[in-house]
């Protein structure tokens, strides 16, 4: 069969074939199609609203391809364009706007996708131990997973090999801090993501995982945990009010550059084994504001962070961790001179 464009609303409409908005699939039809009929190149436009699951979504056997991913795209409630345009895409709340993404209310029902999916503008709430699981080569953009379980050691997102999460948010129930790992990462990349109100923000469980331009807040264990592997890139992140900022364990060949650590109560960066093959540069933080900024990290040349900056980063109180004028972090990264 040829790849199809399909439409989904919480209640469905008409014949519920998904061919048009007037015949949109409901939740049950969407699940059935996803699990048994999804194929490379299919696009599902999912309108805002709540989709209550009454069984697990197991699309792990339905794969897209690198040149024909299966796309599931959240759009605003009431979208009528076929296909929807960019302005119809559902928004997240990370820039202070309304969160009008469709929400898959999973409760105890697991959700797993196969290889090569594009999940855009989708929100999940879940209580399952390891959910929103992803196969190979997936892209998540503007997605959110809220782990609602009061039980410890649960995950919010499980990112498979070569999967990317861009502008995504993962959290536990705000204030409880029991969720084990918000982003559990294989050899994957998180860019512009936000992890908060859990135990560990980013759990780097495979070589070459990357955490770039992300924010971690209110984590009761650690912002980033590098687990016994190598080649991690941890670049341009803000880690605020966590117990530990970055847990290196014995990770090797890891790059930790230009991260801002503030308000970590136990350690800024801690390595259980001092591993001088790693590289630290232009990070911001000090003992006075992170208790022990460099625990298990060399403090002598050439292995130390030679250009660390220190002091109050001067967050401007807008709740977004923006930097106020005079912050020692402004213009503290690489000053490149390009070609002249």
């Amino acid at each position: 069969m040829a790849a199809a464009t399909m439409y989904v609303t919480p209640a469905g409409a008409g014949a519920k074939t998904g061919a048009t908005w007037a015949a949109a699939m409901g939740e049950a039809e969407f699940e059935a199609d996803l699990e048994a009929g999804a194929e490379a190149g299919d696009i599902y436009y999912v309108a805002g609203g709540n989709y209550t699951l009454d069984s697990a979504y197991d699309a792990s056997a339905r794969d897209g391809t690198a040149i024909g991913p299966i796309s599931i795209i959240g759009v605003k409630t009431g979208t009528s364009a076929e296909p929807p345009v960019w302005a119809d895409w559902a928004d997240g709340n990370m820039e202070g706007g309304a969160d009008d993404r469709p929400v898959f209310v999973c409760a105890a029902n697991a959700v797993a996708f196969g290889d090569y999916y594009k999940l855009f503008n989708i929100s999940f709430t879940t209580t399952v131990s390891s959910t929103v699981g992803n196969g190979l080569g997936n892209v998540l953009f503007n997605c959110k997973s809220t782990q609602q379980s009061p039980n410890a050691n649960r995950y919010a997102f499980t990112l498979g090999t070569e999967t990317s999460a861009i502008f995504c948010e993962a959290c536990g129930l705000v204030g409880t801090g029991v969720v084990g790992q918000l982003f559990r990462m294989g050899t994957s990349t998180c860019v512009f993501c936000w992890a908060h109100d859990g135990q560990t923000g980013f759990y780097l469980n495979a070589v070459r995982a990357r955490v770039l331009f992300c924010v971690m807040e209110d984590l009761s264990v650690t912002g980033i945990n590098c687990v016994a592997a190598s080649g991690f890139t941890i670049l341009n992140n803000t880690i605020h009010d966590c117990v530990v900022g970055i847990t290196g364990n014995a990770a090797t060949a890891t790059i930790i550059v230009n991260n801002l650590l503030e308000g970590c109560t136990t350690d800024g960066i801690i390595f259980s084994t001092q591993t001088d093959g790693n590289f630290f540069w232009k990070n911001h933080g000090d003992d006075a504001r992170n208790n022990d900024m460099w625990d298990g990290v060399a403090t002598t040349m050439p292995h130390m962070d030679a250009e660390v900056s220190t002091g109050d980063p001067l967050f401007d109180g807008d709740g977004n961790l923006s930097l106020a004028a005079g912050s020692p972090c402004i213009n503290n990264a690489l000053a490149a001179i390009l070609g002249t």
Binding site: P10, V103, A107, A206
Partner: protein, 151 residues
């Protein structure tokens, strides 16, 4: 019967409504909402409600009021066991099989309640098994990379 606008298409996970007025519920259709609660056989709705039809709702672990009906959806008994995962229970609240049975089979884990651990695990059995598989994969990758090194 009219759709109950207030309580349809909503996420009420872990919430209870014991202190709401029965009139908010009576003789209405509650469609596609999630009322899941962690504790099996939870009373979630106010005493005395009647004529409510729950259509395609998640009512796992929820006691259905006797004068109400259910159409589609789910109303299972589920509880986290000492292996750290959700299991389906029988009426006596004894575990029967893992809720995500397919995942257990895929990972080669026993789906028999007899195999459940006697003490609680800090990491669930499926997470533990996946970790073992991932560790083995990482070791294989490292071995291949070492073998393919230019040296």
């Amino acid at each position: 019967m009219a759709m109950n606008e207030k309580y349809s298409y909503k996420d009420f996970t872990y919430k209870t409504f014991l202190d709401t007025k029965p009139e908010e519920w009576n003789d209405s259709e509650v469609i596609c909402s999630c009322f899941y609660n962690e504790k099996p056989k939870s009373d979630s709705f106010p005493a005395g409600i009647k004529g409510v039809k729950f259509i395609r709702c998640n009512l796992d672990n929820i006691v259905i009021p006797k004068d109400c009906t259910v159409e589609g959806g789910c109303n299972r008994l589920i509880q986290v066991q000492k292996d750290g995962e959700d299991w389906l229970l029988d009426e006596n609240l004894k575990p029967v099989e893992p809720l995500d049975k397919a995942q257990y089979i895929k990972l080669g884990l026993s789906i028999s309640p007899v195999a459940l651990p006697t003490s609680a695990k800090s990491v669930s059995v499926t997470q533990e098994k996946r970790q073992q598989l991932e560790d083995a994969l990482q070791a294989q990758i490292k071995a291949l990379e070492d073998a393919a090194s230019w040296r």
